[in-house]
């Protein structure tokens, strides 16, 4: 087995992902459909929250992916800074919009959920708030990518922003917690304490989470390919100028 850094070569990366992509997309589609249909049609209502629990099948996975996408960008940025593999920088760039959309979904579903549960669309609950902040970080990150034309410069700057941003995102999380004690559920997927979501809700939820993860990976592969091609195209066009 050769080192994984081989896949940092654009050509190799595109070849490999080209082979993987079909399977990934089909798989993610299937799991998503199963999870959502199961969750939507074949789960009982919660005694307290009524039918709104069904929202959890979109809300939690998207929320998780919103966070994980940022983590993935963080790792990719580190790789770029340390090993200067263009692919990882481009992967970070490709992941950002996906993460942003996930954040929006978590926010939207949450807001819709809040209406019946808390009687309000939006409350400055710590978790909600920190998600809003996360969304702002996504916005800034993408804006910076968009604003700089030299690709390597953009990669360097955005990765530093990603590092610093992560630190401040954590800070904000604590700050927000300190600032306002919220009404939001605590994390129940955490392994340390026994889960507070009954299995009937739990199993389809796992499917949905798996589906979202697969979807994320597939999208990132696809979009990274696109970024690579776009960049090669820019290079070729530039080359034509030398003629």
């Amino acid at each position: 087995m050769a080192s994984i850094w081989e896949y940092a070569n654009p050509k190799k990366f595109i070849q490999t992902t080209d082979r993987l992509l079909p399977w990934l997309s089909v798989l993610s589609a299937i799991t998503l459909v199963i999870g959502l249909i199961w969750g939507f049609f074949f789960t009982p209502d919660d005694f307290r929250q009524g039918s709104t629990v069904k929202i959890i099948y979109l809300h939690v996975p998207s929320a998780l992916m919103a966070i994980n996408a940022w983590l993935m960008m963080l790792v990719a940025s580190l790789i770029w800074i340390v090993r200067r593999h263009h692919v990882s920088a481009l992967a970070a760039r490709a992941a950002a919009p996906v993460g942003a959309v996930m954040t929006v979904i978590a926010l939207a579903t949450g807001a819709i959920w809040g209406q019946p549960m808390w009687g309000t669309w939006w409350a400055w609950d710590p978790r909600l708030t920190s998600f809003l902040i996360l969304f702002l970080f996504y916005l800034g990150y993408m804006a910076l990518w968009a604003a700089i034309e030299n690709d390597d410069t953009a990669a360097d700057l955005t990765s530093v922003l990603c590092l610093v941003g992560s630190v401040f995102a954590l800070l904000s999380r604590y700050a927000v917690n300190f600032w306002n004690q919220g009404l939001h559920q605590g994390a129940s997927l955490s392994l340390d304490k026994e889960k507070n979501v009954a299995d009937v809700f739990y199993h389809p939820l796992l499917f949905c989470i798996a589906g979202f993860v697969l979807l994320f990976v597939a999208l990132v592969f696809l979009r990274t390919q696109t970024e690579i091609r776009a960049r090669r195209m820019r290079a070729l066009l530039a080359r034509e100028r030398l003629g």
């Binding site: 959502l36 939507f40 049609f41 209502d45 009524g50 039918s51 709104t52 069904k54 929202i55 979109l58 809300h59 998207s62 919009p97 996906v98 959309v101 929006v104 979904i105 939207a108 579903t109 819709i112 959920w113 209406q115 019946p116 979807l215 999208l219 696809l222 979009r223 390919q225 696109t226 091609r229 776009a230 090669r232 195209m233 070729l236 066009l237 080359r239 034509e240 003629g243």
Partner: protein
């Protein structure tokens, strides 16, 4: 077949609608851009192979 969602029907349905629309939009956009860039790149490749 359609489960009875009780008084929360609109909440549940709208959240499903919103999420699915967003996801589909993201996927559609990514795929379309992928197609476009691929085509453009092939075009450029041909050109630049033709003349040096």
């Amino acid at each position: 077949m359609m489960p009875d969602l009780g008084k929360y029907a609109d909440a549940v349905l709208s959240s499903y609608a919103v999420s699915i629309v967003l996801i589909l939009a993201l996927v559609a956009f990514s795929v379309m851009r992928a197609r476009k860039v691929r085509a453009q790149l092939d075009e450029v490749e041909r050109r630049s192979r033709k003349n040096g």
